[in-house]
Amino acid sequence: MELSSGTVSPQERIGASNAQPYAESMALFRRAAQVIPCGIYGHQSPAATLPGASPYYAARAEGCRYWDVDGREYLDFICGYGPIVLGYRHPEVEEVAERQRRDGDTFNHPTARMVELAERLVSLVDFASWAVFGKNGSDVTSWAVRVARESTRRKKILRLSGGYHGIDPWCNHSPAGIIEEDRAHVHTFHWNDLEGFAQLMRRHAGKVACVIVTPYHHPAFGDSILPARGFLKAIEQKCRDEGVVLILDDIRAGFRLHLGGSHRVFGFSPDIICFSKALGNGHPISAALGRKELRVPASRVFLTGSFWNSAVPMAASLKVLDILERDDVPAKLQRSGQRLREGLERLGTEFGKDILGSGPAAVPFYRFNDESNFRQWQRFCAYAMEGEGGVGAFFHPHHNWFLSAAHTDADIDQALEIARVAMQRTLEETI
């Protein structure tokens, strides 16, 4: 039975146990709130994490750790929400980036890095014969959809209910600033619901330009769900039958599960694949790669940005890909992710409070098994962030976590120790 009325917040508990652990963050945020809508907007908004009970501003980072503006240290399990796949400030990547920076970054022209990177990516992705680049994931998912429309001369976009593909009107989840027409040709189906998908295809027969999927379902505030056997292959087949372009949004999982794209893990083959996040290990870059047949429509759909061809992120990406391959990073992430998962599961069993992990171990989603409203889990994460002796573990309460190659066994074990204390403190509030 829970003793609390349910209205006592993590903020209050943290406030009671440790005076102002995030004072500097808060002071900065007060200034921010005067001059920036939301203070911090988007996925990094405190509102999306644990307002008042989590750090708001970072100061520096190294490997799998970062320090906030209050000087508190965190073992990081969010990795910048995905980009950091090798660890913060990876020396080899930064050396290459620094060298390129000395030569210049943004010019009147692209550099040779752009050609090299396109060649490298095309060689890694089995179905691809071309690549283009942007900065953020949204740049390339939205562009890919336009390429599909150009290629098919059709209007409809089919996407997953609860999926995320970026900030543009066709796909973001917010109603603000959106007019009905923006989404008039966007239709959703449910993950693993092949019949629902087939129905949607029938209803819009001859009008569907593309189907955009993620390699597995990774909603925020919900368990990750792997594809049912044959689900993605059946979607692929249907797309082939109907001349529909199949887009794989591999922005979140890309390069963490397989170097050649996550479709290789789940046994299907898309027409376009979108990458970002891990591609630059923190340097801003995204890419879309596609089949030969889509090259001409791709050449027609306008694509550019003031900084999209800048050389430093491309140089960094080339090095990132080398290291991912050389060190077989996906296998390493799987191993350390598995160590974390087993450790958390053991902890749950020991305390009689199951921790449910879902999705791939390298990109896992965790919550307490006996609640779906995250109330206790939020407290657990708040305590984990607060940590022990000035070192916390940044466990996100509502978003999937990310492992990086910088997480050693010792780091995972230290995080599990922090989790143990957080668990004790969380359960002290219940009998």
Partner: protein, 267 residues
């Protein structure tokens, strides 16, 4: 939606969401209580479109009923159209409704109208009034009650809201002014859609706590930078935030039918 359907929905909101707020008003406003005096009085409204609501006023309470209890009201008034009812409720020029019962007590409808006028003023306070903490709390409570009653109506009777409601997320949301404030809750669950004040029937899936009544006011008037307030801690959301977002989304629809006021400058 056709103009007639919009009028019908608006009438529904006046009858079932706005006028029941007289209960909060009588508790909060001496002026309203003075108008009622020591006597009890009840009035029922009926529309040709089939809507019916009755208000039993006594002391500090206004009991609302939409069932057969309307037949026990002292006076019953009939509107030939929803538009006629809406014009009347909004204080616009309209043909008066037809008394169908209680002609002898018809004079007392004036008393009801006067109290309704106090309610209207109460819901559009000036900045000075809102600087008074007690008033502000009473206002937020009253306004919030109207919003939640409206929301429940829309979830059942408006297509888009119904779809939003059906698609989820579902669960119990709790709202309060201050961490020790009296909770108001909304059970946003199909077939169990309901709201109330006091401890909710079970632990809420999300608790939204306004630590500053001014922020609550801005929220009600849709003038709040929620993310900034959350970061500052003047607003707290614990539990399942998508449910709070869902409530917000539904509340935004109310404005299509009952325009919200603006917070006076300086609050």
């Amino acid at each position: 939606m056709t103009p007639a359907a919009i009028e019908h929905l608006r009438c529904r909101l006046f009858l079932f969401a706005v006028l029941p707020a007289m209960d909060d008003l009588l508790k909060a406003s001496e002026e309203a209580r003075a108008l009622l005096g020591d006597e009890s009085f009840s009035v029922a409204f009926k529309t040709r479109s089939g809507l019916r609501g009755a208000y039993f006023l006594e002391g500090e309470t206004c009991r609302f009923d939409w069932g057969n209890a309307a037949e026990k009201a002292d006076v019953e008034l009939f509107f030939h159209s929803d538009a006629q009812a809406n014009s009347t409720f909004e204080g616009r020029k309209a043909i008066p409704p037809m008394p169908t019962r209680g002609i002898s007590k018809i004079g007392r409808v004036k008393q009801f109208q006067d109290i309704a006028a106090v309610l209207e003023d109460f819901l559009q306070p000036n900045g000075d009034a809102l600087r008074d903490t007690d008033f502000r709390e009473a206002f937020v409570k009253t306004y919030f009650g109207i919003m939640l009653r409206s929301l429940c109506q829309l979830c059942e009777h408006e297509r888009v809201s119904r779809e939003i409601f059906r698609s989820g997320p579902h669960g119990l949301a709790q709202f309060q002014l201050g961490r020790d404030g009296v909770p108001t809750w909304l059970n946003l669950v199909p077939r169990r859609l309901d709201w109330g004040r006091g401890e909710p029937p079970r632990t809420a899936d999300v608790t939204v706590c306004f630590n500053d009544p001014a922020v609550a006011l801005h929220a009600l008037h849709d003038e709040m930078d929620a993310q900034a307030e959350l970061g500052l801690g003047t607003l707290e959301i614990n539990g399942f935030p998508p449910l709070a977002e869902q409530v917000n989304l539904l509340m935004e629809r109310i404005e299509l039918y009952l325009p919200r006021g603006k917070t006076p400058a300086g609050i």
